[in-house]
């Protein structure tokens, strides 16, 4: 029996005797995350909002675009201020808006759009950022310098302006909104990935792979990217709320989602226009959006603490 086989058998015996299980980085991180109360509460809240957004519209009695001129700007029946002009009958638990549409279902549709934008745009930024950063860091030299110089140039732009121009140019195309936001959010991701790649590519296992004749792209895919996932995951959870904010910002200005579809930015903008007579139109979308953003921030902070190798 070879020495290596012997050692591994010995280790196994010891592990079995002491009942120790090896813990991978991810198992360890999950345990630490589950101990973080703010993060756990955020995950539960966020999952609830997402499940509501997906399933409640299937069973809710009102459609998001059903206009009802008999129920314009009506408060929900439980509204504490009894001096409002009218109360909505039926199941309008968040009241109705300026076209008599049910506000609750519209907030949920807003959640659908916002969460979808958050995921799709973040994916776009993830793909561009990780690819760009990993190649720059791994190849190094002149190419690295050139690529990072380009990122520096783009950093100087207040890029919400570019997105605004893009939205005007492409006539508020729904799908392009997702891509446009993602396409301007990848810069920080590229920087983080490049920095991580620089340190990992000096490790022995990467050198061994290179010596064994593994090509650059395969090496990046098989050895670099799996090892930088930690910081990338943390940054992804922090990018999602930024993206949701950008979309709402554009929609608020009237440059994003268009009627009858809706998003939180549109709802808040409508709410701001009617806040004197119908404050619920501002309060409910704003509150749900704020809760969602809080949740993402807490989860991001929690993940950062859980994945930080320095304080384990």
């Amino acid at each position: 029996m070879s020495a290596a086989g012997l050692t591994s058998r010995n280790t196994e015996t010891i592990e079995r005797a002491l009942d120790i299980k090896g813990r991978s980085l991810w198992v360890d991180a999950r345990r630490r995350l589950m101990k973080n109360r703010a993060a756990v509460v955020s995950i539960v809240l966020l999952a609830t909002i997402a499940l509501f957004a997906v399933f409640v519209p299937l069973v809710w009695p009102y459609s998001y675009d059903a206009i009802d001129y008999g129920n314009i700007l009506c408060a929900p029946s439980w509204w504490p201020d009894r001096s409002v002009s009218c109360f909505a009958g039926g199941h309008h638990i968040f009241g109705t808006e300026q076209n008599g549409r049910d506000l609750f279902i519209r907030v949920l549709y807003g959640a659908r759009i916002s969460l979808a934008v958050g995921l799709v745009a973040t994916m776009v930024s993830l793909l561009i950022g990780v690819g760009y950063g990993a190649i720059a860091g791994f190849v190094g030299g002149k190419l690295d310098e050139l690529m990072m110089r380009f990122v520096d140039v783009l950093y100087a732009l207040p890029y919400i302006f570019l997105v605004i121009i893009l939205m005007v140019v492409f006539n508020q195309n729904f799908f392009l909104l997702f891509v446009a936001i993602g396409a301007v959010e990848w810069l920080t991701m590229a920087r983080i990935v490049r920095g991580q790649t620089l340190s990992i590519k000096e490790k022995e296992f990467v050198e061994a792979a290179r010596a064994a004749g593994v090509g650059t792209l395969t090496n990046i895919r098989r050895h670099i990217i799996p090892n930088i996932l930690g910081p990338v995951v943390v940054y992804v959870t922090l990018t999602i709320p930024t993206v949701i904010l950008s979309e709402s910002f554009l929609s608020f200005l009237g440059l994003g989602i268009r009627d009858p579809l809706t998003s939180w930015g549109v709802l808040i903008s409508d709410g701001a226009a009617h806040m004197e007579t119908a404050p619920w139109m501002l309060l409910f979308p704003a509150a749900i959006m704020a809760i969602t953003l809080f949740c993402f921030n807490f989860i991001g902070d929690g993940l950062r603490d859980a994945l930080d190798p320095k304080d384990r």
């Binding site: 302006f161 006539n171 709320p241 910002f249 009237g254 809080f294």
Partner: protein
């Protein structure tokens, strides 16, 4: 240092050129032009209008003409605000935006540093948790939510505090009167105050643990001197490098704030120009904003090197 500054300014010129070119062609390939929405004109008149704005020429000629005028400092005529040149519109709006933005950045710096320092000095007790909790709210809640809520609270209902009726105008500029400035400046400054407070708290906590601060305390210096003469200077470095992004954030915020409060600054011009396809006006505002961000990043870098003796200009 002077040669470093000159090199940086020269390095900014290609960046600006790229931005101008990008925005120019993006606006022009857009379907629909600035004169589409108007009532239907006879073709001869339409052609005359297009000729007057050089829109009948090939794209590359339009680009050449625009860059030529720009080199002479002429942003061209506004397509939508007839009889006004972009230069005139910006000259009207810039002082307003500048007054708003400078007040907001000064207030953010002063309050952010003060709150962050207080939180760091009371690390982990209720003052710290309170300040950081409020900062979290300030970072998370976007300005287009705080603005209408503050307008509702102060402009429409009016708040009664300590027997005083606080009633602030909910919109308008009124020549930059103090009462008109309070709400928009607050909305602009809140997120920046929150971010700066978090930055200062983080670095202050670290600096207060460092050896030279312990030495200063061991020498028997009063804690006021230790904090303000010794610790604060080092703790402020992250704030200096955050100034560039802070200004970019303020410019973005100014789009919302100027639109909501009806303030006649250049942020509102940009939003209206983008919606109306007023090419020249949008270009003018973007060029101003980009130049401003680049200059401030440069100023922040130089300030950083002045404050941190370990940094050398190369």
């Amino acid at each position: 240092m002077l040669s470093y500054a000159i090199r940086r300014v020269l390095g900014a010129i290609p960046t600006l050129l790229i931005i101008i070119t990008l925005v120019f062609f993006m606006m022009r390939i857009a379907p629909g032009g600035p004169f589409d929405a108007q009532r239907h004109l006879p073709p001869e008149i339409e052609n005359n209008i297009k000729a007057a704005y050089h829109l009948d020429k090939p794209l590359w000629q339009q680009y050449g003409l625009y860059m030529g005028n720009l080199a002479r400092g002429d942003f061209g005529p506004s397509f939508k605000n007839h009889d006004f040149s972009v230069n005139e519109l910006i000259a009207d709006g810039l002082p307003v935006s500048a007054k708003l933005g400078i007040s907001a950045i000064l207030i953010s710096i002063v309050f952010g540093i003060a709150l962050g320092t207080v939180a760091a000095l009371n690390q982990n007790d209720w003052v710290d948790h309170g300040v950081m909790g409020i900062a979290m709210i300030g970072i998370t809640i976007p300005s287009f939510v705080t603005a209408p809520i503050l307008m509702l609270a102060f402009g429409i209902y009016g708040l009664h505090l300590f027997g005083i009726d606080l009633f602030l105008p909910a919109g308008g500029w009124n020549g930059g009167a103090l009462a008109n400035m309070i709400l928009p400046v607050t909305v602009l400054a809140l997120p920046q105050i929150a971010i700066i407070a978090r930055l200062v708290r983080g670095s202050m906590v670290e600096v207060l643990r460092s050896n030279y601060v312990r030495t200063a305390r061991a020498k028997g210096l009063p804690s006021y001197t230790v904090v303000y003469r010794h610790a604060l200077r080092a703790a402020l470095l992250p704030v200096v490098s955050y100034l560039g992004p802070a200004v970019a954030g303020l410019l973005t915020g100014s789009l919302i704030v100027e639109t909501i409060f009806g303030i006649p600054g250049i942020g509102r011009y940009f939003v209206e120009g983008a919606i109306n396809r007023d090419y020249t006006l949008v270009m003018g505002v973007v060029i101003y904003y980009a130049a401003f961000v680049i200059l401030l990043n440069l100023a922040a870098d130089i300030l950083y090197a002045v404050m941190d003796p370990r940094v050398r200009f190369q």
